[in-house]
Amino acid sequence: MLELGAFEAAVVGVFASPDAVAAVHAGPWSVCRVAPDEAMVVAEADDGEQMLGALEAAVGAADPDGIVLETTDGWSACTLSGDASRDAFSYLSELELPDEGFVQGAVADVPVRVIVEQDVLYLFVPAMWGAYLRDRIMTDCAHLGVREVETVEAEVVR
């Protein structure tokens, strides 16, 4: 089984000194370290405001020059789920998926951040490539029987 779903989440970007970014710990959300001076923090859509406030406080204390910004609008998020999800991913990217965790790199030739769970891949692509990525997934994974499903209320991604 392979399903492509939309995914609603709140995303906050932390742009600060490496020490300040390192100090961002996972609360009820997922922290993805994308660069020494940048982290992407993901939470359920309803928790965005709370997360933003908490991160502003945490980062502000560590690095007054840091920027904490809600970046949800900058991402088009989707999920690849089902027992064929990892197989499907191999048709899109040369990235090696961990059992669980975070990877980033070229997926379908565009920059994508991936949060990996056992049977679900959460894909975050810059919004201008959202339609393109979905088209590529539907085309490149057609032989695996991929089907589109309704927007899913994602469980908390950690």
Partner: protein
């Protein structure tokens, strides 16, 4: 009903385990191809996929190796060359003319007269070639997947399987691939038994993945190995690679070595032992290696009469009983123009002719080491025959174990590969089967001065055919080594490059995706409005919504919207944000107050303009910066690079994906916004070049008053997710003003009337602000900025060219330029003049970069480059073709800017 495939209009039955070649052979086909240049008959030879003799078209795909491709019911198979047919080929006459067309003749002929080459080229292309690409079939684009493995083993023979097993025992993830099914190429016997036993063991490891019918076609950096499989291309990214591709039998070179009936012994044994077919009724075998005798036994068991075996004396005791043995002989030639009728063998006692219809050659082994030589020594190693040609089964297992365990001595293995023994080569015969290169051809090339294997290869094209030197690569190297007196450099193996095996373009195309489209949030709105969307850089943008002139008039006379969500948008924060912006750009920043914005140029260190945009000072000490649509990523990199280099405390956030932007432009722009916003928009509260955070139809926006189109205008930068909502509200509220959106076509004229430059369209990579007439955008009195030193130095040199405003079709232009008496208002297709050269009198002085007819002004407007006279002056009376052009100051429209400051 027995399964069958179509072959040139007939049905060919398929037996169990048949390849296309074996089925055709069973059906009586003996001539499979014609040679590339001389159209000599070619029949089955190696049956291991190494030679070019059996290439056919299958379902329209040319160059398919019929000896390794399983026969499937319903296939359509055709031979590829020969006219009018492969069996009866009139092109065969080319061989008679061969003495007149020696190797390299096409480098020397058809040079004069020049018209001869195009004619000759057509004829040569007709005579030569391998198959034809189908013109009536859409490419079968295959999926491409990536696979990770700790160890990739290429080749599932004895050594490869042993390597896979050894690696798996160490707990490594192993991928083993083979171009066929495991063991299928090997005739029944001890080797096949050993392979099947090892294969069963390997399949028992959970960490081993076996990919049969996946051919390794090349090794690339990484390493990455590309596998061409059935309906897929697999890109393997292994930690290390074991190449166990085995060896190919030496190609025998002697007179008549390429006629049907000459076989490599493995091929003949496979035909007999696997497919139950006889390579001939009466055969002569020439043996120089240990594996020859078993092959002779296989043929004997299958019913082939062995007329004689030619071998070294010490082989006598391993010959089957009753076989005539000729010790220490050598093959001189075959007889029979279309098929083997007899062979001549030479011994110390003299020559003897032996009647036969098959010649079986087991002359020794040449490593099949293309992949091994493509890869770096570490982490790529060889195992088995590929590094020890002719090794025993036990040696192969041991070699595989060492390679699979990571214990192979790569330097020794590589040296063994490079120093492989040279095959013997007679003084006649075809060396390169693919390219029809003979022994004579090699000598001729050498005598003409081509004195190394690499150069002889290029001159003769030997090794450059479908088999990529599998047959003749070693012969060529040995030839050059011998002729050079033993020079290792001259006689080196030629460089091995992908593809190692033939691969179709459509298989490779599966990995290529050229159309990667960026869309703004308003994409669907544009489609619904009937927009013509086209590429603008990597974005799909509306060029017009059906009538660009009316869109243009909406901007000039009423109000209009444009989607500029494509603009680059950066947020720069941190205690050094101001310092970074001030030092990177030539724009004055120190007096830019919060709430104000300023145009900026981006210069490289050489002082050349590479981008432009706008910088807005924010209340919190941060800066918001825009760049051109195509420049966002470059601008981000540029800022990060300088922040790092200067160790500044500045954080840069590329907000391009998360923010949309809509331009509201036209005399009624303020009225429209006022109907949707409670914020102060009057010219005093919100003047030109100011920016404010306002809400429009409830959508939070950073509104920037700018004037690229020369009218009252606001850029509304907003959350991308609210874009559609904002667009719809503006369009609805604009109904009283007959609002309509405008695209890039209308923008072209709007910006031209203002004399604004489009980077890349109007500029060149070495343009300075001075050449563009934009010194006003550079604060040379600042202490420093990127490119300042270069600009100071270039200021000492007179400008050689300038970008200037052009009035096109001006009836008042001076001189006789207006030869046809055009009046400005009579030239409607001004845009067609874009790119036209500009003349002053008869002197070529420049060119037009952009132009369009302005209905508002009543004449054509444009920008263009003009060469200066050395003092910085340019001619003013010009012509482009027959159209008069004059140099005028830009902007053409509203030169004092009263409308945009309204």
């Amino acid at each position: 009903m027995a399964p069958s495939f179509e072959f040139e209009g007939k049905q060919v039955p398929i037996a169990q385990g048949d390849t296309i070649a074996s089925a055709l052979y069973r059906a009586g086909v003996r001539t499979f191809t014609r040679s590339l240049k001389l159209h000599r008959r070619r029949g089955l030879y190696c049956l291991t996929g190494d030679c070019p003799n059996c290439l056919v078209s299958v379902d329209g795909v040319p160059g398919t190796r019929s000896c390794t491709t399983p026969a499937d019911a319903g296939m359509v198979v055709e031979r590829e060359d020969g006219w009018p047919s492969t069996d009866h080929d009139l092109m065969r006459l080319t061989e008679a003319a061969h003495p007149l067309m020696p190797v390299g003749f096409y480098y020397k002929t058809f040079i004069h007269p020049r018209f001869a080459w195009p004619v000759a080229e057509k004829i040569i292309r007709k005579v030569t070639g391998l198959g034809r690409l189908p013109e009536d079939r859409a490419p079968d684009i295959r999926p491409t997947r990536h696979v990770r493995a700790d160890v990739l083993v290429v080749g599932a023979g004895v050594a490869g399987l042993a390597a896979a097993g050894a690696a798996a025992e160490r707990g490594e993830r192993v991928l083993i691939c083979d171009e066929g099914e495991i063991g299928e190429k090997v005739a029944p016997g001890p080797t096949q038994d050993r392979i099947r036993g090892l294969a069963d063991e390997v399949r028992g490891f959970a960490a081993v993945t076996v990919l049969e019918r996946h051919t390794a076609v090349g090794m690339y950096d990484g390493p990455m190995v590309a596998l061409d499989g059935p309906r897929e291309l697999v890109q393997v990214h292994p930690g290390r690679v074991v190449v166990a591709t085995g060896a190919v039998e030496y190609h025998g070179v002697f007179k008549g070595n390429d006629v049907p009936g000459v076989w490599q012994a493995r091929g003949a044994a496979r035909l007999a032992g696997v497919h139950g077919l006889l390579p001939g009724a009466r055969a002569v075998a020439v043996i120089a290696g240990e594996e020859g005798a078993p092959h002779v036994a296989t043929l004997t068991d299958a019913g082939v009469e062995i007329a004689a075996v030619v071998a070294a004396l010490d082989h006598a005791d391993v010959m089957p009983d009753g076989v005539r043995f000729i010790p220490d002989g050598r093959i001189v030639r075959t007889h029979g123009g279309e098929a083997v009728r007899a062979v001549t063998i030479e011994t110390e006692a003299g020559r003897q002719r032996i009647a036969c219809d098959a010649l079986i050659l087991s002359l020794g082994l040449s490593p099949r080491d293309d992949l091994l030589r493509m890869g770096p020594e570490d982490p790529v190693v060889g195992a088995g025959d590929v590094v020890m040609p002719g090794c025993s089964l036990d040696e192969a297992v041991e070699s595989g174990h060492r390679a699979g365990s990571g214990e192979a001595d790569t330097s020794v293995d590589a040296a063994a590969s490079h120093d492989a023994a040279c095959p013997s080569m007679g003084d006649a015969g075809t060396v390169c089967l693919c390219e029809d290169v003979s022994v004579e051809d090699l000598h001729r090339a050498w005598d003409e001065g081509y004195r190394s294997s690499e150069i002889v290869k290029r001159y003769t094209t030997a090794t450059m055919g479908p088999c990529q030197g599998a047959m003749c690569g070693l012969h060529l190297a040995c030839f050059a080594k011998e002729r050079s007196g033993g020079s290792r450099k001259a006689g080196a193996r030629t460089t091995s490059r992908p593809p190692a095996r033939p691969v179709s373009l459509e298989a490779l195309a599966g990995a290529v995706h050229e159309v990667i489209e960026k869309r703004t949030a308003l994409h669907d709105r544009h489609l619904a409005a009937g927009a013509r969307l086209d590429w603008s850089g990597s974005w799909k943008r509306p060029f017009n919504y059906g009538d660009w002139r009316s869109e243009y008039l909406a901007v000039r006379e009423r109000v209009s919207l444009m989607d500029v969500g494509t603009l680059g948008k950066m947020l720069i924060g941190g205690r050094d944000a101001g310092s970074l912006v001030d030092r990177v750009f030539p724009t004055r920043i120190e007096d830019l107050a919060p709430g104000r914005s300023r145009y900026l140029l981006a210069l490289g260190e050489a002082g050349y303009v590479f981008d432009d945009g706008l910088v807005c000072a924010l209340d919190d000490g941060r800066y918001y910066l825009t760049s051109t649509s195509g420049g966002a990523d470059g601008m981000e990199r540029w800022l990060r690079e300088w922040a790092d280099r200067w160790a500044l405390h500045a954080n840069i956030v590329n907000q391009t994906p998360m923010l949309g932007a809509i331009v509201v432009a036209g005399p009624h722009a303020r009225d429209l916004l006022a109907s949707l916003s409670d914020d102060a928009l009057d010219p005093v509260s919100f003047p030109y070049m100011a920016h404010r955070e306002i809400a429009v139809a409830g959508v939070p926006c950073r509104a920037i008053r700018v004037g690229f189109v020369g009218e009252l205008a606001y850029e509304l930068h907003h959350p991308r997710s609210r874009g559609v909502e904002l667009w719809d509200a503006l369009m609805a509220a604009g109904t009283p003003y007959d609002i309509r959106p405008h695209g890039l076509d209308a923008l072209e004229l709007l910006r031209l009337e203002k004399g604004h430059v489009y980077l890349a369209q109007d500029t060149m990579p070495d343009d300075t602000p001075a050449k563009l007439g934009m010194e006003w955008a550079v604060a040379m009195d600042k202490p420093d900025f990127v490119g300042k030193v270069a600009l100071e130095r270039m200021a000492q040199i007179p400008l050689e060219r300038k970008l200037v405003g052009l009035r096109i079709g001006d009836a008042n232009a001076a001189g006789d330029a207006n030869r046809n008496g055009h009046r400005g208002d009579a030239i409607h297709d001004v845009a067609a003049l874009r790119g036209m050269p500009l003349y002053a009198g008869e002197a070529l002085v420049g060119r037009i970069t952009s132009c369009e007819r302005s209905d508002v002004l009543g004449y054509g407007v444009g920008l263009g480059w003009l060469r200066t006279d050395g003092d910085g002056e340019v001619p003013t009376a010009l012509r482009a073709g027959d159209v008069a052009v004059s140099v005028v100051p830009a902007p053409f429209y509203d030169p004092k800017g009263a409308r945009l400051r309204a």
